[in-house]
């Protein structure tokens, strides 16, 4: 191999392929969800508490920042679930050829974002 092979490190020209982005976001969303476990349990406790404590809980999650955090967790869950389903199908050799893999990767990104937006608009 030639020792003077060209290096291509123009980071603004190098792009991850879509499946790599989905895979990376799968990891990031997974880490986020693991961090969110106690807070989601706290939310579950809030929905299961007595009527007056439930009202206090509703007032607590009415804060816009809390709502935003809930939306982030919702997106993380949806992306992690959709990407996970895609990986499960790949485990049984469904959709492993490049065109299908690229298409399903785009689908995962789109479905999780659209569902987050729809549920966010409905529940805000």
């Amino acid at each position: 191999m030639s020792k003077t092979r060209p290096k291509h490190l123009e980071l603004w020209n190098i792009k991850f392929p879509v499946p790599a982005i989905v895979s990376g976001l799968h990891r990031i969303s997974g880490a986020l969800l693991a961090l969110a476990i106690p807070f989601v349990l706290y939310a579950l406790a809030g929905t299961l508490s007595s009527a007056e404590r439930f009202d206090a809980f509703r007032a607590c999650i009415a804060h816009p920042l809390i709502k935003l955090a809930l939306l982030v967790v919702l997106w993380a869950f949806l992306h992690h679930a959709c990407a996970g389903i895609r990986f499960l199908f790949m485990d049984i050799h469904k959709g492993v050829d490049l065109p299908t893999a690229r298409l399903t990767a785009k689908l995962v990104l789109a479905v999780s974002l659209v569902l987050t937006a729809v549920i966010g608009v409905v529940a805000w």
Binding site: A34, L44, L88
Partner: protein, 115 residues
């Protein structure tokens, strides 16, 4: 004589399988909850409380929480193994992760089975 290089801790296949089985358990549970929210007449506060008053729902929820925490352990441990090389820091992070997950489990028992 077989010169076989034995490397690794040999939990790779088991954890690969655990990750998939726990994922399917969580998917089934999530589909059940979403189905309830969509189908149960507006999913009122009372209906939600009645659902989680059933023993079988509490049992399935606890099983799913165990699956979730096990899944999270495999995933988070993989992240530390990929990005954190110094043994001391990695061990510390592993211990903190286990504490986080064990504390979450105890809290989940309190939430699901408590008063």
């Amino acid at each position: 004589m077989v010169n076989r290089q034995v490397v690794g801790a040999h939990y790779g296949l088991r954890d690969w399988l655990v990750q998939r089985v726990t994922a399917v358990i969580m998917l089934v549970y999530a589909i059940g909850i979403v189905a309830f929210l969509l189908l149960a007449s507006g999913a009122s506060y009372e209906a939600w409380q009645q659902l989680f008053a059933c023993t079988w729902v509490k049992v399935l929820t606890t099983v799913t929480v165990v699956a979730l925490l096990w899944h999270a352990w495999v995933g988070i441990r993989d992240i530390w193994m990929d990005y954190v090389q110094p043994v001391g820091i990695r061990l510390t992070l592993h211990v903190l992760t286990i504490l986080w997950l064990v504390a979450s489990f105890i809290y989940s028992i309190h939430v699901v089975w408590g008063a």
